[in-house]
C-alpha cells in the first residue's frame, strides 16, 4: 500500500479552515517550546495570559482597544486585495490620518460635537491623500503600488516624529515627544473602549455589503480576479482600481484618527504601534471573507495584549513579533497544504 499526496486546484473550505486553525495552534506551541527552553514555564504563562485577558472586563477592554485599529487597517489592506492590489502602506496612511486629525483638533477651535466629525473627515482625507500618488501611478503608469505605498510609510512615520518633537511639541513642557493633549475625545462605549470599536465593525459590514450587493462590487470582484475579463466585459477597471485604493487609504486614515482621538489623545512618534503592518497580517488571515477581517483582528488583538502581559513577566516585546511571524509562516504553509489530498493506493496485483 502506498500513500500519495495529490494537489487539488482549490482547497475545500473546511480543510482550509482546519489548516489555519492548526497553524495558529502550532505557532503558539512552538513559541511555548522556545519559552520553555528559555526557562519559563509555558503552561503557567499561558494560564496567566488567558486569565488576565478573559478573566476580567479590564483584560477584554484592553483587547478591545487594540482590536479597533486592527480591524480598520486589516480592512484597508483587505479591501485593496479585492481588486488585486497590495496596499503595504496602511501604516503610512494611519500616520497621515492621525496627523490630519490632530491638526484639526489643535488648530480649529470649536465644540466637540462639531470638531469630532471634522477630525474624522480630516483623518479619512489624510489617509486618502497619502495613497493618492501611488494610486494614480498604478492606474496610469502601472507602477507597483506595493513599492510606492511601502516607501511612503517611512515618510509619514518621520513626518509625525518631526511635528511631535518639533513644531507641535506640547508647549506646557511636560512632555518631550508628544503634542499637547487633544481637547476632543471620541466618547467611551464600554469601559475604556471608545465608539471607534463599534464603528470599525459597522464599517466592515458596510464595505462587505457594498462588495456583495452592488453592481460596483461585482465589477471589483471580476477586475480583481482577472483584469482581462473585466476589459472583455467593458468594465472600467481603472476607475474601480482608483476608487478601491483611495477607499483603502481612507480606512487606514480613519484608524489613525480614532487612535489619536479615542485611545492615545496625543500625537506622538510610533503611535501606529505597527498597526498598519499588522493589518497586512489580518487581511492575509481573513483571505476572501469580510468576517475573517473581524476574526483576524480579534486574534491579533489578543496576541498583542498577551505580549503586554508577557512583558510584565520579563519577556521582551520582540517575542510577540516573533510569535505573530510564526503564525503568518505556519498559516502560509497550512494554506498550501490544504491543497493536498492524501490517498492510499493498492498496488495492482500483476
Amino acid at each position: 500500500m502506498a500513500i500519495k499526496f495529490q494537489r487539488v486546484p482549490s482547497a475545500q473550505p473546511s480543510v482550509a479552515f482546519a489548516a489555519r486553525a492548526l497553524a495558529i495552534v502550532l505557532a503558539l506551541g512552538v513559541a511555548g517550546l522556545v519559552l520553555a527552553a528559555r526557562g519559563n514555564a509555558p503552561v503557567e504563562l499561558a494560564w496567566e495570559v488567558l486569565s488576565s485577558t478573559f478573566g476580567s472586563s479590564f483584560g477584554l477592554e484592553d483587547v478591545g482597544l487594540l482590536v479597533t485599529p486592527l480591524i480598520l487597517t486589516g480592512l484597508s489592506v483587505w479591501v485593496a486585495l479585492r481588486i488585486g492590489a497590495w496596499n503595504i502602506g496602511a501604516e503610512g496612511q494611519f500616520y497621515a490620518g492621525a496627523f490630519s486629525a490632530t491638526a484639526v483638533a489643535l488648530f480649529i477651535p470649536g465644540p466637540t460635537w462639531l470638531i469630532l466629525p471634522v477630525m474624522f473627515t480630516a483623518g479619512a482625507l489624510g489617509g486618502l491623500l497619502w495613497i493618492l500618488v501611488p494610486t494614480l501611478a498604478r492606474a496610469y503608469a502601472d507602477v507597483s503600488e506595493l513599492i510606492t505605498t511601502l516607501l511612503l510609510n517611512f515618510v509619514a512615520t518621520l513626518m509625525v516624529y518631526y511635528v511631535a518633537t518639533g513644531p507641535w511639541l506640547d508647549p506646557s513642557g511636560h512632555a518631550l515627544a508628544t503634542t499637547a493633549r487633544l481637547p476632543h475625545d471620541v466618547p467611551e462605549f464600554w469601559g475604556i473602549v471608545h465608539y471607534g470599536f463599534p464603528l470599525a465593525i459597522l464599517l466592515t459590514f458596510v464595505i462587505a455589503g457594498l462588495l456583495n450587493y452592488t453592481r460596483w462590487g461585482y465589477e471589483v470582484r471580476i477586475a480583481g480576479s482577472n483584469p482581462s475579463a473585466a476589459l472583455y466585459a467593458g468594465m472600467p477597471f481603472r476607475r474601480r482600481l482608483i476608487v478601491i485604493l483611495l477607499m483603502s487609504g481612507a480606512i487606514a486614515g480613519i484608524a489613525g484618527m480614532l487612535e489619536v482621538a479615542g485611545t492615545v489623545h496625543r500625537l506622538q512618534g510610533g503611535i501606529s504601534n505597527n498597526f498598519g503592518y499588522l493589518g497586512i497580517m489580518v487581511a492575509v488571515l481573513a483571505r476572501g471573507s469580510s468576517l475573517g477581517v473581524l476574526a483576524g483582528a480579534a486574534l491579533m488583538g489578543v496576541i498583542l495584549n498577551s505580549g503586554i502581559i508577557l512583558q510584565t513577566q520579563g519577556i521582551t516585546v520582540s517575542a510577540v513579533l516573533a510569535i505573530t511571524g510564526l503564525i503568518l509562516f505556519f498559516t502560509a504553509i497550512g494554506n498550501e497544504l490544504a491543497h493536498y489530498r492524501i490517498t492510499r493506493t493498492e498496488p495492482a496485483a500483476s
Partner: protein, 562 residues
C-alpha cells in the same frame, strides 16, 4: 545565464565529433533520402516500446486503466481520443513525468522505470509538447544545445551553429542555426523542437497535436519529415483530434476512451466515422451544416455588420489590420480562415469594441459604431466567444455564478439600479448552465474546476443570450473533443437559423467548409479574398492562407487540377 555565456564565448577547442546516434544502430541500412521507403522490421522484431497494463489513478479519476500499447520500429502510431481520454497521462507516463500505479514499460525488450524525463530521453523517448519549450531570445543553435550533456563545455556561437547545421542535415530538418527563435514562424519553431529531441538520439518521437499551429503546407512538410524519420527504423507517436490527418499519416491507430484502450487498428482498415464512433462511443456526424432547415431565417440583403477599410496599428505603428473590408449578413455564417496570428485576434477586438481602430469604419445594422466600447457592442447585440476563454472571457478563480452573469449583471433581474442581487444572479447562472447542458453540482465553486468543454459551452451559451444581431466566435472548438466541437457547431447553426450574423474564426478548414456560407482568408492583417464556400476548395483556401491573393490562388489551384 552566466555559465551559458561563458560556454558560448570560448570556442577554440571544438573538434567535430561523430556522436552515437540512430546512425550507428541502423548503420547498415541504406535509405534514399528523397523518397522515404517503408521500413520493414524483421519478423519477430521486438517493439521499440511496449506498454503493458498501464494504470494511473488520480483521486476520484481513473486516468488510465490497463492500457496496452506497442510501438513498432518504422511506424507512425496515432493516439486518438477525446479530451480527458487519458492520452496525455499515458504519454506523460511514457516520458517519465508520471509514474504508473500499475503496469510495465518495456523498451527494446528491457523493462524500464523512468523517474524523470531525463531517464526517458536517455532511453530514446522524447516528446514535442503542444506548447513549445524554447528560449525565444536564444538562437536556434543555442536552443538545440541548451541543457544537453553532449554540448562541449567551452564553445562559441559559430561552432554551435556548425554543429547544428550538421545535425540538421543529417536528420533532414531544415533550420537556420543562427536565427533567433523569436523571429521564426511557428512551423520553424516546431522543427527546432523536433531537431532538439532527435539530436538527443530519440528513437521514439512523441508529438502532441503537432499540426494545430501549422498551415496545410507546413503540415505536409512535417509529415514528410516524420515519414523520413520512421523510415530509418524509428517510431512516432502522434497525438491528435483530427481524424483526417491521422488517417493520412499514421500506420496504426490506437483509440483511448475514458482512460481505457478501445482499439488498435491498422489505419488501412479505418474510416473517419468508425474512428469518431470509437472515440466518443456513439455515432457522431461532423457533416455539412450549410443547408438550412425549413423555417430557418434567410440571409438578409443588407449586411448586419460591415467593416469598411479598417486599419489597426500596434503601439509602435505597425500594421495589424490592413484595409480590412468585410460584410456579414443576418442569417449568415462567415468563416475566417488563416494561420493564427495573421490579424484574426485584432479583427475580433475591433468588432467587439476592445480595440480602437486607426482608420476606417464599422457599421452595425447601418449605425456607425466605430468608436463604441465593449459595453456598447454587447448592448447592441454583439456576443463574443473569445479566443482564449480562460484568459479573457472568464475569471477562473471566481464562482460559476459570477462567470455566467458577466454579460447581464448590470441589467434586471440581476441588478436593479445599483443593487446587485446574488440570488437572482444564481438563478440566471442556473438557466445558462441548463441551456448549455452542463451539470453543475455547486454554483459557488470556482470556474476552473469545470472541464474545458463545459467552460466553453457555458461561455457560448452566455454569449448567445446577448447575440441578438451578431456573434463573434473565435476558435470556438479549440482544445475541445469531437463531441463538444459538434455541440459548438450546432450552437452556431442555431444562431444562424434564428437570423443572427456569425463571424466564425477557425484554423480547422473542415469546420469552416462544413459551416460557413462564405470563407474569408486572412494573411498578414489583410483579407486575401472572400469566397462562396460552394465555389471553392481546400486547395484555394490553403494557397490564400499562404499569402496568395484570391485571383492568383484560384488560377493556381485550377491549374493544379488540370
Amino acid at each position: 545565464m552566466r555559465a551559458e555565456g561563458k560556454a558560448l564565448s570560448g570556442m577554440n577547442d571544438f573538434v567535430p565529433v561523430h556522436h552515437a546516434s540512430s546512425e550507428h544502430r541502423y548503420g547498415g541500412m541504406e535509405v534514399p533520402s528523397t523518397s522515404p521507403g517503408r521500413y520493414e522490421p524483421g519478423s519477430g522484431a521486438p517493439p521499440l516500446v511496449l506498454l503493458k497494463g498501464i494504470s494511473k489513478y488520480f483521486p476520484g479519476v481513473v486516468a488510465n486503466q490497463d492500457v496496452d500499447l506497442d510501438v513498432m520500429p518504422g511506424e507512425i502510431h496515432a493516439l486518438l481520443g477525446e479530451n480527458g481520454a487519458g492520452k496525455s497521462t499515458l504519454m506523460n507516463i511514457l516520458t517519465g513525468i508520471y509514474q504508473p500505479d500499475a503496469g510495465e514499460i518495456v523498451v527494446d525488450g528491457y523493462a524500464k522505470r523512468f523517474a524523470s524525463p531525463v531517464d526517458a530521453i536517455s532511453a530514446g523517448i522524447g516528446m514535442v509538447h503542444q506548447h513549445f519549450k524554447l528560449v525565444t531570445a536564444f538562437t536556434v543553435a543555442e536552443n538545440i544545445h541548451l541543457g544537453w550533456s553532449e554540448t562541449p563545455k567551452r564553445i562559441g556561437s559559430s561552432v554551435l551553429e556548425a554543429r547544428t547545421a550538421a545535425l540538421a542535415e543529417k536528420l533532414n530538418l531544415a533550420v537556420r542555426p543562427s536565427a533567433r527563435v523569436a523571429d521564426l514562424s511557428t512551423g520553424e519553431q516546431q522543427r527546432v523542437e523536433i531537431l532538439r529531441v532527435l539530436a538527443r538520439n530519440a528513437r521514439v518521437l512523441i508529438l502532441d497535436e503537432p499540426t494545430a499551429v501549422l498551415t496545410p503546407a507546413e503540415a505536409r512538410e512535417l509529415f514528410k519529415a516524420l515519414k523520413q524519420f520512421v523510415s530509418r527504423g524509428n517510431a512516432v507517436v502522434f497525438i491528435s483530434h483530427k481524424l483526417d490527418e491521422v488517417l493520412e499519416i499514421s500506420d496504426r491507430i490506437t483509440v483511448l476512451r475514458g482512460g481505457r484502450k478501445v482499439a488498435t487498428e491498422k489505419t488501412a482498415d479505418c474510416g473517419e466515422k468508425m474512428l469518431a464512433r470509437l472515440m466518443v462511443g456513439r455515432e457522431i456526424v461532423l457533416s455539412n451544416l450549410r443547408a438550412r432547415q425549413p423555417g430557418a431565417a434567410g440571409i438578409s440583403a443588407e449586411p448586419v455588420l460591415s467593416l469598411k477599410s479598417v486599419v489597426a496599428r500596434d503601439d509602435v505603428g505597425g500594421i495589424l489590420l490592413d484595409e480590412v473590408s468585410l460584410d456579414i449578413h443576418a442569417g449568415e455564417i462567415v468563416g475566417i480562415a488563416g494561420v493564427a496570428g495573421n490579424g484574426q485576434k485584432e479583427l475580433t477586438q475591433a468588432v467587439t469594441g476592445l480595440r480602437l481602430i486607426h482608420s476606417g469604419q464599422i457599421l452595425l445594422g447601418g449605425k456607425d459604431v466605430t468608436t463604441a466600447g465593449a459595453v456598447d457592442y454587447a448592448k447592441f447585440g454583439v456576443g463574443h466567444i473569445p479566443e482564449d476563454r480562460l484568459h479573457s472571457g472568464l475569471a477562473p478563480a471566481l464562482s460559476i455564478t459570477d462567470n455566467a452573469i458577466i454579460r447581464e449583471y448590470a441589467t434586471a433581474p440581476v441588478s436593479k439600479g445599483f443593487v446587485f442581487r446574488p440570488r437572482l444572479a444564481a438563478a440566471l447562472a442556473r438557466t445558462i448552465a441548463e441551456a448549455a447542458s452542463v451539470a453543475v453540482p455547486d454554483f459557488g465553486m470556482p470556474m476552473r474546476n469545470l472541464s474545458g468543454g463545459n467552460q466553453q459551452r457555458l461561455v457560448a451559451r452566455r454569449e448567445m443570450r446577448i447575440a441578438s444581431k451578431v456573434l463573434i466566435a473565435a476558435y470556438p472548438s479549440r482544445g475541445l473533443d469531437v463531441g463538444a466541437i459538434n455541440t459548438m457547431m450546432h450552437y452556431l447553426v442555431e444562431l444562424r437559423d434564428a437570423g443572427v450574423g456569425v463571424l466564425f474564426i477557425s484554423e480547422e478548414l473542415e469546420e469552416l467548409f462544413n459551416l460557413s456560407d462564405r470563407i474569408a482568408v486572412m494573411f498578414h492583417g489583410k483579407i486575401m479574398g472572400a469566397v462562396e464556400t460552394a465555389s471553392t476548395d481546400i486547395e484555394e483556401i490553403g494557397l490564400m492562407m499562404g499569402g496568395q491573393m484570391r485571383s492568383s490562388a484560384g488560377a493556381q489551384a485550377a491549374a493544379g487540377k488540370h
